[in-house]
């Protein structure tokens, strides 16, 4: 009854909107017009309003279009590749099909995680859950509240709002990201600004994921500090509350397992001297500086959002989880990282 009411109101509101109401949200997500029955692709098109509600489970619904067959979308999130050329960035005659998706993949991914200039499509070693099954939302909650929220159920719709217009004010957000992820417990909400041109793929032709800029500037630099990338960090941190850390807060003596030992994950470094000896052109750098030091340090600098094929051998594969658990370990401890082992650290710090 309640659902019926909600649906009726939802439908009425949408029908009442002028036909020109178009959001930047892509595909069947948002941008609904009164002339097309845009709800039908996900809700059953029967006579009775109640029957129109989807019985449907996720991610099966989403995979009907975004799955490996890509029968209704070009973003194949199972294999982590884009089925088309990115027409927004590349002339139809250039660029290749099957470039890696920025988010990686849930089943397979095409990522150069060892920086040898070659990527092969192989099964992922770690990924966010997406089928409503449960895990611990690491770092969820305030300081001192333990390892995180256990039995956290995660599905596509926890993070994405398939209806678009997902900001706190009903505007389009980047990748339909919900201002407040479901069950995150966040109160205020983080609006990640949408991008003007949809570019779903990594910019590197060999599918190197480290150094990917957000939203579009490849090799984002400190000077071109990107607001959106900062917003994504704040967005992730609605679930992983205590992973967010400003510059210089690397070891805060708070007694909290997660908060105490974490890398700066939000913004620019406190001091340029960490890397620079001088600012000539080219600048003189410290010998400890790695090959790709000139990047923001945000969640998305080190992690992908869906899943990675990175491997985790030796030490990297045996790091304890925040609750002290030692499994899963080995490659399954790759923690959505953009590079094998601690390759992400070496890119900035060298050896």
């Amino acid at each position: 009854m309640k659902l019926k009411l909600i649906l009726a109101i939802g439908l009425l509101t949408l029908l009442a909107l002028p036909t020109g109401w178009a959001l930047a949200d892509n595909g069947p997500h948002g941008g609904y017009t009164a002339t097309t029955d845009a709800c039908a692709g996900c809700h059953r098109a029967h006579t009775a309003p109640a029957a129109r509600l989807l019985v449907d489970t996720m991610p099966e619904l989403c995979f009907s279009c975004h799955g490996s067959t890509a029968t209704g979308a070009d973003t194949n999130v199972e294999d982590g590749v884009y089925a088309e050329r990115d027409f927004e960035t590349e002339a139809p005659a250039e660029g290749d099909v099957n470039r890696g998706l920025k988010a990686g993949g849930f089943v397979n991914a095409l990522m150069d995680t060892d920086f040898d200039g070659v990527a092969t499509s192989v099964p992922v070693t770690s990924s966010h859950l997406n089928d409503g099954s449960t895990g611990t939302a690491w770092g969820n909650g305030s300081i001192g509240s333990g390892a995180g929220a256990a039995n956290f159920s995660l599905s596509c719709a926890s993070c994405h709002d398939p209806h678009g217009g997902a900001s706190t004010t009903g505007d389009a957000t980047y990748r339909l990201l919900r201002a407040i992820p479901i069950d995150s417990g966040a109160a205020i909400g983080v609006n990640v600004a949408d991008e003007a041109n949809k570019i779903y793929t990594v910019s590197d032709a060999n599918n190197k994921y480290f150094g990917e800029g957000y939203p579009i500037t490849p090799g984002n630099t400190w000077t071109a500090m990107d607001q959106q990338e900062r917003e994504v960090s704040n967005w992730c941190a609605q679930c992983h509350t205590r992973y967010l850390a400003d510059s210089g807060s690397g070891s805060t003596g708070s007694g909290d397992d997660i908060f105490t030992f974490r890398h700066m994950s939000e913004g620019t470094p406190s001091t340029c001297d960490s890397c620079h000896i001088d600012f000539g052109s080219p600048p003189t750098l410290r010998t400890t500086v790695g090959p790709e030091w000139h990047h923001n340090v945000e969640c998305m600098t080190c992690h992908v959002a869906h899943g990675t094929t990175a491997i985790a051998g030796g030490y990297a594969g045996t790091v304890e989880w925040p609750d002290g658990a030692t499994a899963p370990n080995g490659d399954a401890r790759s923690s959505l990282l953009r590079a094998d082992n601690r390759g992400v650290c070496q890119r900035c710090h060298g050896k």
């Binding site: 996900c42 098109a45 449907d56 139809p92 290749d96």
Partner: protein, 404 residues
């Protein structure tokens, strides 16, 4: 005067004995005959029973489709052992079922009519993460055509699943490409293609394997494939922005024994968009007996009808109410011009009579669920001439067999 009546008493007792014996003999013979007949019958029944046991299909459904049934079919049985199947097709003799899997190893699997596995195949030189077989069709010689969404290619196999050739672009086949770059191909030479490696492999008889740079793969994005009785192929192409078309390959080209001069006359219709004559992810295109073509216009949630000259006629199935579609995918046409459309989100198969000037919704069958006769994101359908229907029931990991 008493009539000279011949009575029983007049017959000699010995004669009577003989007659009696004869009668007895006849009776025995009859009994034997009856017994033999009974035995034969029993044997027949036993044989039939064994046959029946070995073949799960009930016998009555072998009769040809009745001429004017307009009632929904009923569920027969399911074929398991397939991982997220999305495409289904039959061999020309209808004794083999070909199924594309999108989970696990992502193979094309072959089953017999009873659902027993006969084999499986995949594009040579590809790993599961590098292939995505979607829709498939067979031609009258039994060759199997499989579209691959990751390889951007239409792979062609012989009926046993041995790789035969690949259509890499609307005007380019793999055999043609290799032949052109290597002074011709001879029978026995082998070749393969993997878009991810950007390499073409070939091996001439008696020589070692060589590679060629792969041709550019971006020219098209083949998705749905259907081949009619004349051998004509209808292919949907979902390459974005400016494409989204149905391509038609004439029978002569498809049926030709060699494809080393592949340059079929270009014929296509449709474009990208939501208006009349436009498509958003057209999934399959099927012809009716009058030369019209019906396209499942996936993300527009409708069927788009075209005439034989490639002119747009009308749309139907959009909106709400009986026969309204959610996410139309695979489709098939029966001999009476009834169009079967698999509705992936509607979780059923909707059937329209398209024989008249206006399409007419007849009935739908199936509902959402995991039980017999229920679907969980079905995606494709194939019909045979005996009234059987095969539905790829993706998230239930099975092919459902229905019958009239």
């Amino acid at each position: 005067m008493p009539e000279n009546k011949v009575t029983e008493h007049d017959i000699h007792p010995a004669e009577m004995e003989v007659e009696k014996e004869e009668k007895e003999e006849n009776r025995r013979r009859l009994l034997l005959l009856v017994l033999l007949l009974l035995l034969a019958l029993l044997a027949c029944v036993a044989a039939l029973f064994v046959r029946y046991l070995r073949r799960p299909a009930p016998l009555p459904e072998m009769v040809p489709l009745p001429v004017d049934v307009n009632y929904p079919p009923h569920y027969l049985f399911s074929i398991y052992g397939v991982d997220k199947p999305v495409g289904v097709a039959l061999s020309p003799e209808e004794d083999r079922i070909y199924v594309t899997e999108t989970g696990g190893e992502r193979l094309v699997k072959i089953f017999d009519r009873g659902g027993d596995p006969l084999g499986s195949f995949a594009p040579p030189r590809t790993t599961p993460g590098e292939r995505s077989p979607v829709y498939l069709a067979t031609d009258s010689t039994g060759r199997v055509f499989v579209t691959d969404r990751l390889q951007h290619t239409l792979f062609v196999y012989d009926p046993e699943g041995n790789f035969w050739d690949a259509i890499l672009a609307p005007d380019l086949t793999l055999s043609e490409y290799v032949s052109k770059h290597t002074n011709g191909l001879q029978p026995g030479d082998t070749f393969a293609y993997n878009q991810f490696e950007s390499d073409v492999y070939y091996q001439k008889t008696g020589e070692s394997e060589q590679t060629l740079p792969a041709p550019d793969p971006g020219g098209w994005a083949p998705l749905g494939v259907r081949i009619d009785e004349t051998g004509r192929m209808l292919l949907t192409d979902v390459a974005t922005e400016g494409f989204n078309v149905v391509r038609e390959f004439p029978a002569e080209v498809i049926m030709a024994p060699s494809w080393q001069e592949f340059n079929p006359p270009e014929r296509m219709f449709g474009s990208y968009g939501q208006g009349n004559g436009e498509f958003l992810f057209p999934n399959t295109a099927v012809p009716d007996s009058q030369g019209r073509i019906y396209v499942t216009d996936g993300n527009n949630g409708r069927i788009s009808a075209w005439d034989g000259q490639g002119s747009f006629l009308f749309n139907f199935g959009q909106g709400s109410g009986d026969g309204a579609l959610s996410l139309p995918r695979g489709a098939a046409m029966d001999a009476r011009d009834r169009l079967y459309v698999v509705d992936a989100v509607g979780q059923d198969v909707k059937v329209y009579d398209v024989s008249g000037p206006e399409p007419n919704f007849l009935f739908a069958f199936g509902d959402w669920g995991m039980g017999d006769g229920q679907f969980n994101y079905p995606n494709d359908i194939a019909l045979d001439s005996s009234g059987r229907l095969y539905v790829a029931d993706r998230e239930n990991d099975r092919i459902q067999v229905w019958s009239y």
